[in-house]
Amino acid sequence: MAAIFQGVGAAAALSSSLSNSFDSKKFVSSPLRKGASFAVVRSDGRVNLNPKGRRAQQLISNAVATKSDSAAASSSSKPGHELLLFEALQEGLEEEMERDIRVCVMGEDVGHYGGSYKVTKGLAKKFGDLRVLDTPIAENSFTGMGIGAAMTGLRPVVEGMNMGFLLLAFNQISNNCGMLHYTSGGQFTIPIVIRGPGGVGRQLGAEHSQRLESYFQSIPGIQMVACSTPYNAKGLMKAAIRSENPVILFEHVLLYNLKERIPDEDYICNLEEAEMVRPGEHVTILTYSRMRYHVMQAAKTLVNKGYDPEVIDIRSLKPFDLYTIGNSVKKTHRVLIVEECMRTGGIGASLIAAITENFNDYLDAPIMCLSSQDVPTPYAGTLEEVTVVQPAQIVTAVEQLCQ
């Protein structure tokens, strides 16, 4: 699926000699100093040496990935509009529903109620009851129905009110959604999007604070993406709906009210690509979803202490964007993974395996992984805080890694 990045034409104009011959030695020799000028490694590996200082300033303070010159300009200057993450999701969904009549939404309370997190607000009024369907509380069957409808060519967006409820539909997601394209010998595609909020919230209790990305990650045939900013939320939502493959879009309960300025024009984000949040030198920090913000907070402290972390929001949980990650590892030689998943069998565990398998020679130190504790999330606020990775722990980990 083509990534319709803004300015992709301009990007392609960059010399191809740079793209596949990325050499870390060459990189180190160029004059780099934090704050003054530095090289921007784009997420697709092209190197932009010494961009203008002003833009460099914007790139640090703006937590959104560098897409290309025009995109960076448009998202930081006046054009574009400001909105919250859930509104961005809604915008993406609405635009896709307008664009393609086959797109429909199914979920609990998505229609008349407007969605429990207001992602589908106003859609039922606009598109009618046949396209925005309020389902009874029957995840197993309405996920199955979404898959059945997708087999005929419709493009349903199934919402789990909380990701944890989708465990009830695990059979449908694993056996039908993931496997039908294969077991039918390619006859059916399942262009379904399964989305919902997950992650640890504010004292929601154990059952409502689950991180299902670790359970779904081995299902063959599905793609998983996690959004973290309004920009990528809208982009990923649109890309997921347009994709012919089943996509699970993981949102986070606590990120719905993030505000950001996003472009007015139509754009999508590549489903398989990671986002370069903050280019750096000393250590690669891989993260996704809410932990990105904990990492960025820790990054401020780290910068003050003299470290230069490179922060990558991996976004694509299945498959991993080993290209971007690999380039980063080759540059910094140290990896820290910060995730909200549990330690056992989480995304971090798979990522460690993937990086070790492919980039072991480039590593100066063993990969560190900070994950949530292997416990059901407690209700008490203090305990809940300890369950999840906090910025202070990230700072300590980087210091330890960079010794």
Partner: protein, 419 residues
Amino acid sequence: MALSRLASSSSRSADLLKPLCSAISLRRPISTDTTPITVETSVPFTSHQCDTPSRSVQTNAKELFTFFRDMALMRRMEIAADSLYKAKLIRGFCHLYDGQEAVAVGMEAAITKKDCIITAYRDHCTFVSRGGTLLEVFAELMGRQAGCSRGKGGSMHFYKKDSNFYGGHGIVGAQVPLGCGLAFAQKYSKDEAVTFALYGDGAANQGQLFEALNISALWDLPAILVCENNHYGMGTAEWRAAKSPAYYKRGDYAPGLKVDGMDAFAVKQACTFAKEHALKNGPIRGKSLSLVEAIKLTSSCSVCCAYMQILEMDTYRYHGHSMSDPGSTYRTRDEITGVRQERDPVERIRKLILSHDLATEKELKDIEKEIRKEVDDAIAQAKENPLPESSELFTNVYAKGLGVESFGADRKEVRAILP
């Protein structure tokens, strides 16, 4: 559809002798004869929350021969699959449908290819009735390239998209929500077609079935749930698994019909009735409803819902649940032979053909010989067919769009070109 021409049928039976005399030596004229014949179903229908269709079914010689041929073909195919399994050419699970052919054949006669069928893992015969070829069946069972799923699905994953056959599912009961999804898509696209979602008496106790039933009734979907009740959920008899084995009543508000599934005409009649009922009541044209309108609409519907229905087919399987189940530990051999003698679907059609003097015993035997040869040829052809290439392992995991090429971690070398 066929119900309106019942009146003049009884007087026609005498006319049948005329074409017969001239054609006794030639099979072809008889098999294309379309003069109506009326047949009575073996037992009357029992209904729940709706009217019963008539016991008299309109048919003709052509249809009788088609039924006979199709069912004999399916029977022969399943028995051949049995031998292939014992010869270790078919591995894994193999669930055979012999004994239940009337359901597949009768249903197909009542509907068009626009209507969708989805069933569980006992799908070989349903696949054939939807237009699948014998080669595709045997090749898939043996895991060859010419199989309907390119050898990657196996016995439980037969699909035929162009004739709206949606499989072929291994997990008990999971196909019913899928089937309701198909019905939803039909309503969404205003297809004027229905979906038949088949499941067994074992699956009837699955929660997702009731969930799907509820949603289908609520949203007025043209879904017809068909319970193929062969009285055994693998090794457990229905009375040991279900508090209420009246599966056609389980819909509560949904109309239900109990049908003799060993009688192809009863099945055909019931399916025709069900489809008509579903389409006559027509789905709500998808207009944007305000909250007030929606509430009014739902409260105005009576307890008996428009057209989501359950058909219970009282049928029987001669083989065990699958090839690894002898089928005799939980039921007596006498029971099996008893059903075979009294209710066998192929025998019923044979008797009908003979009693209406449409063909002789020898002619029917010739048809069966022909079928046997057809099956043997298909098996021979399938055996010749190659196994899938190793690169097929990675095809169809994702639809095209997840990059056309798969690179190594460095993106320097292309590992595979994905289709």
